[in-house]
Subunit: 364 residues, 2 copies
């Protein structure tokens, strides 16, 4: 089944190794294995046997994951190797050739490419920068004039940082209820704002996916999950037997330690992101050639610049000559933008933005 | 995309927890995390940062994996979360709606179900017990009279333990070369016999998959790999960006430790399996109601019994009343058989077989 190159992931794979000032990573500064295992004060690692473990995932971990939501039981949770795989599993389990899928752009390319590789029809609704990166309402209404099988959103959105709050989600749900449309909501950037809500807490056909990769700083565990109605979990369980069997007791056990220390991890991440927002805000006040719709939540922002250079050329020049690493907007189908990650130390952020300023003047 | 229940995996998921005498597990007695980390004398864990790590997998690990093969470079290797996912990735990357796939039965249900869910045509050739569980040659020749896109084999085979040796593989390759047919060879049970060969060492369109789950006793790491021509690896890399990103530096690092100690791990497994083969042989000499084509290699065997009871009823009765756990042949489409795993201690094996004898007499 053919897939086009995943532009943002390939850009990261090809170039991240050369970054001196990483301005674009979406994961908050990663923990080491030793830092995480130091939090294992219950010595869970001492009892880990490296068999397949519980197939749906360690039931203690599934209960701990429930603490992130307002509703559900552990039977509404199943584990996956990351949020990306959680999304893939949901789409493979619920979509068929000919299914109709609605999604937003700029957004995460997986949401259109996987359905297209299955043979689905995909409809893309633009998020409008002039509208604070909220959807083009007219296009959205039009997309829902006919039947849709699934709406796929990223909340908060990568790259724009758009937060779909409870009020807006209720509007989307009303549209979806008309047609019995599933909402798959990738909520991997949630955890840092009080205004975030999980679609699976609001809508019986709402499916929430997430992982420990972004705001928990633990991408290396490859541990994500799906929260959904039991009917959906059952379908996914059938598919998981053909795909991964389980996530394994080592990752499950370390994830349990992480979530039992979630206040500590989230506080660390909130502080890092908030300091970077402050630095970005100060820089924007002085830099007339750039603007950012400040993200509602999450770890990313989508910076617009005013200079006579394509985003790819700008990003490559900055990387090759200065070690300043951005993902160009072209990877999200939106030129003259750079994807910004608010995830590193403020010194990196300050230095990277200052070099970006020099480059923007050079191309004027 | 619809998938039927994966019978053997569901049987394991539903019933394994109640096993007192596990007679059917395919993984050699699992190591604990502490046993594995005690082998980490190079202190690799001390430098693990929990980011995504190298996307194709730790290059030191990919080099170490190469030591299991006779040919190739690290660019011929990519990592996956287990052999199951490696197989899935190969099939998704290379098959399309309308592709034609040939496989053997009794075998692993994944090899037919994933292609069918994509919309492939599947042709199944029987392994004949009277032929030492080798393929029905006439049916095989007939299957190759027309074009085939992929032959999927399990070498050694689960459940029959059939070993396709170099001579036989050369015959299969000759058939495949005529039509440019890929051979996907799941070699997860290799490591315990000198007679084993990897299809990727013999054929440019041969793809070998494996993992640390079976003979390395480390299913809990969820670490597998694909060895194939670079053109295949490239296609799989595109797909991996949409599916898992990476296997992560923690699993990669522990896998490196495991493979740097492979002689030790394989010697332990060889001893366990060989003792169980001996116990099985002794039991068979005395038990006239059962027979086994002794496996050429691997950790499984397919026991045939002569009693007036279906394999499912026999397996359920043994489990519920005695805690003796088998997968029934019905999970492999072959009744009056039980899948035997030669993976536990000899006392378990002896006790389980002795209780099986009692049951076989009861149903005569």
């Amino acid at each position: 089944m053919d897939l086009k190159d995943f532009l943002v992931e390939q850009w990261m794979n090809d170039h991240e190794g050369r970054a001196v000032f990483n301005m674009t990573d979406t994961c908050v500064s990663p923990l080491s294995f030793r830092e995480l295992s130091a939090l294992d004060t219950e010595h869970l690692l001492d009892s880990v046997i490296l068999d397949y473990g519980e197939i749906k995932g360690d039931s203690r971990l599934r209960k701990e994951i429930l603490s992130l939501y307002k509703s559900g039981t552990e039977d509404n949770i199943t584990l996956m190797h990351g949020c990306l795989q959680a999304n893939e599993a949901v789409m493979y389990a619920l979509l068929d050739r000919g299914s109709r899928v609605i999604t937003f752009t700029p957004g995460y390319q997986q949401f259109t490419e996987i359905p297209q590789s299955i043979g689905c029809e995909t409809v893309t609704v633009r998020l409008l920068e002039e509208n604070g990166w909220m959807p083009d309402e007219e296009a959205l209404q039009k997309a829902f004039e006919t039947h849709a099988d699934m709406l796929v959103i990223n909340n908060p959105n990568n790259p724009t940082g758009t937060l779909f709050d409870e009020g807006y989600l209720e509007k989307l749900i009303a549209l979806c209820q008309r047609h019995g449309t599933y909402i798959l909501s990738d909520e991997v950037y949630q955890g840092l704002s009080e205004r975030e809500v999980s679609v699976s807490d609001l809508y019986e056909k709402g499916i929430s996916t997430s992982s420990l990769s972004k705001v928990y700083s633990l991408a290396g565990l490859r541990l994500g999950w799906i929260k959904a109605d039991e009917s959906v979990i059952r379908k996914i369980s059938v598919r998981r037997d053909y795909s991964i069997i389980s996530t394994g007791p080592l990752a499950d056990s370390l994830a349990l330690t992480a979530l039992r220390n979630k206040e500590k991890l989230l506080e660390r991440s909130a502080q890092i992101v908030s300091e970077n927002r402050r630095v970005l805000g100060e820089w924007l006040a002085a830099e007339k050639k750039a603007s950012v719709v400040m993200p509602g939540a999450g770890t990313t922002a989508f910076l617009k610049y005013d200079a006579a250079v394509s985003s790819e050329r700008l990003a490559l020049g900055l990387l090759e000559k200065e070690g300043v690493f951005f993902v160009p907007g072209s990877c999200f189908g939106t030129d003259k933008h750079l994807r910004l990650g608010l995830t590193r130390d403020t010194e990196t952020m300050r230095k990277g933005l200052s070099i970006l300023s020099e480059y923007l003047r050079r191309y004027s």
